[in-house]
């Protein structure tokens, strides 16, 4: 009898052990398996930046400048530095009786005062109305081979975006700037003077001011622009013809 009891005990233990190895009953099925917080999809990597009207920041910061002189009329380009300041070339705003500004979408912006730099072909214009957008200045000058994008109004016509690369740095052939200037193969035309030259991240790396017969464009490097903006005495009221 004792062995039978032992066998029964062993069998009971075996039963318990076997039950322990059996799969558990399934958990109740939830009513929904949709997560309460869905992962946010990443934005499309096409480089486009959202804006109120679909124009990208490079276009929104561009400004068309009409220089009404004394018996002369010329056009140039510029770009916003902040909400009420734009940067262009000295020769774009020089000898003017009136400056007329317009944005990428044709809105007129009243100009308040223009100042020109003595040591570089640069000028700043204060505006009464707010400018749509302003870019960021790059920290350093670009290297040879870096891509460059020029946004401006060649020949005073439509706003145009052209691409190229930095070819090199030379002493200013026009002797309008102190120090070296950048040479790029981005196509520009008369009227492109004052256009912003942007790097791949949309930062300003220079200001277009000239071109040569080989269709090479010349830029005032951003380091010169930063130096001029950082010097309170660098700019003086622009000469007028009136």
């Amino acid at each position: 009898m004792r062995s039978a009891r032992t066998v029964a005990t062993v069998a009971l233990l075996g039963l318990v052990t076997a039950c322990a190895y059996l799969p558990d009953p399934p958990a109740p099925v939830p009513t929904s398996v949709v997560p309460s917080v869905a992962p946010v999809p990443t934005a499309a990597a096409d480089g486009s930046q959202l804006s109120p009207d679909g124009f990208d920041a490079a276009q929104r910061m561009a400004v068309r400048i009409r220089n009404i002189g004394c018996g002369a009329l010329s056009t140039g380009s510029g770009f916003a530095l902040d909400e009420h300041t734009l940067v262009t070339n000295r020769h774009v705003v020089a000898d003017s009786a009136e400056l007329q500004l317009s944005t990428y979408d044709g809105r007129d912006v009243a100009a308040e005062a223009a100042s020109t730099a003595g040591l570089a072909d640069l000028a700043v214009v204060r505006t009464v109305d707010a400018l749509p957008a302003a870019p960021v200045l790059a920290d350093t000058d670009p290297q040879v081979g870096d891509p460059v994008t020029v946004v401006g109004y060649p020949l005073g016509r439509q706003l145009t975006v052209t691409d190229g690369r930095v070819v090199g740095a030379v002493t200013d052939p026009l002797h309008a700037n102190l120090g070296e200037v950048l040479v790029t193969d981005a196509p520009v035309e008369p009227g492109s003077s004052g256009s912003a030259a942007l790097d791949a991240e949309g930062r300003v790396i220079g200001v277009v001011y000239a071109k040569n017969a080989d269709d090479m464009s010349f830029l005032v490097p951003v380091s010169t622009l930063r130096a001029m903006l950082g010097d309170d005495t660098a700019f003086a009221p622009a000469p007028t013809c009136g």
Binding site: S3, A11, L15, C19, P25, V29, R66, S102, G156, L159
Partner: protein, 225 residues
């Protein structure tokens, strides 16, 4: 594989117990064994078989029976548990399938809505691109009109300056001519006037004519611009 054969006992079949017989008297010589029937004349004592001893169930049999019972009970319990668990899993699987179908329908509907929305988005993008191009064109047209207006304003200003200068030249020349005619008349009757008055009048006429000359120079300068 088969089991051993030959003289070995078959383990699957219990060996039968040897036959139990009662002791008998020794057989006389010449007898080979019991005959099929008793010989007449020799009564034999009645044969009374001995009662068999009580069969005792062996201990391994009991153990095996208990083990078998325990195994059967265990199998029954495990089977019941498996059956209930299977039932629960079947119900759960059905619920999951229902839930999956529900979400599948929702996914299909969402995909259809996404496709429609994507189509609308593409159309909207195309419209936006067209609108942007039109805005740029309109901005350019406005700028060109502004340039034309500014140029025409400059031309109007120039023509106004030229006209004004020409008018001043004409007026000055008329005054000059008038003064010179009057001076000629005075000189023809010089005896009637004081010489000092004639000299002063001559100086005035020369000043007026000088002004006409200056106005003409200004006009020529304006025309040369």
């Amino acid at each position: 594989m088969t089991g051993p054969s030959g003289a070995f006992p078959d383990p699957g079949h219990p060996r039968p117990d040897p036959p139990v017989s009662s002791p008998t008297a020794p057989l006389p010589p010449g007898w080979a064994g019991p005959a099929a029937s008793h010989a007449p004349g020799t009564p034999l004592p009645p044969h009374t078989p001995a009662a068999p001893p009580p069969r005792r169930v062996s201990r391994p049999t009991v153990v095996l029976a208990v083990v078998l019972a325990a195994v059967l009970v265990t199998c029954g319990l495990v089977g019941w548990r498996l059956w209930t668990t299977t039932q629960a899993w079947e119900e759960t699987a059905a619920d999951w399938e229902s839930l999956a179908r529900t979400h599948g329908e929702q996914l299909a509907q969402t995909e259809a809505e996404l496709e429609a929305t994507t189509g609308e988005l593409e159309a909207t993008r195309a419209q936006l691109a067209t609108a942007q191009a039109r805005i740029t064109e309109l901005a350019d047209e406005k700028a060109q009109l502004g340039d034309t207006t500014a140029a025409q304003q400059q031309l109007a200003d120039y023509q106004q300056r030229v006209s004004q200068a020409a008018g001043q030249v004409a007026t000055a020349l008329a005054n000059c001519i008038d003064g010179q005619e009057r001076l000629i008349g005075y000189l023809q009757d010089a005896a009637s006037y004081a010489e000092a008055d004639l000299a002063r009048f001559r100086a005035d006429v020369e000043r007026v004519c000088g002004a006409a000359t200056d106005a003409n120079a200004a006009l020529q300068s304006e025309l040369s611009r």
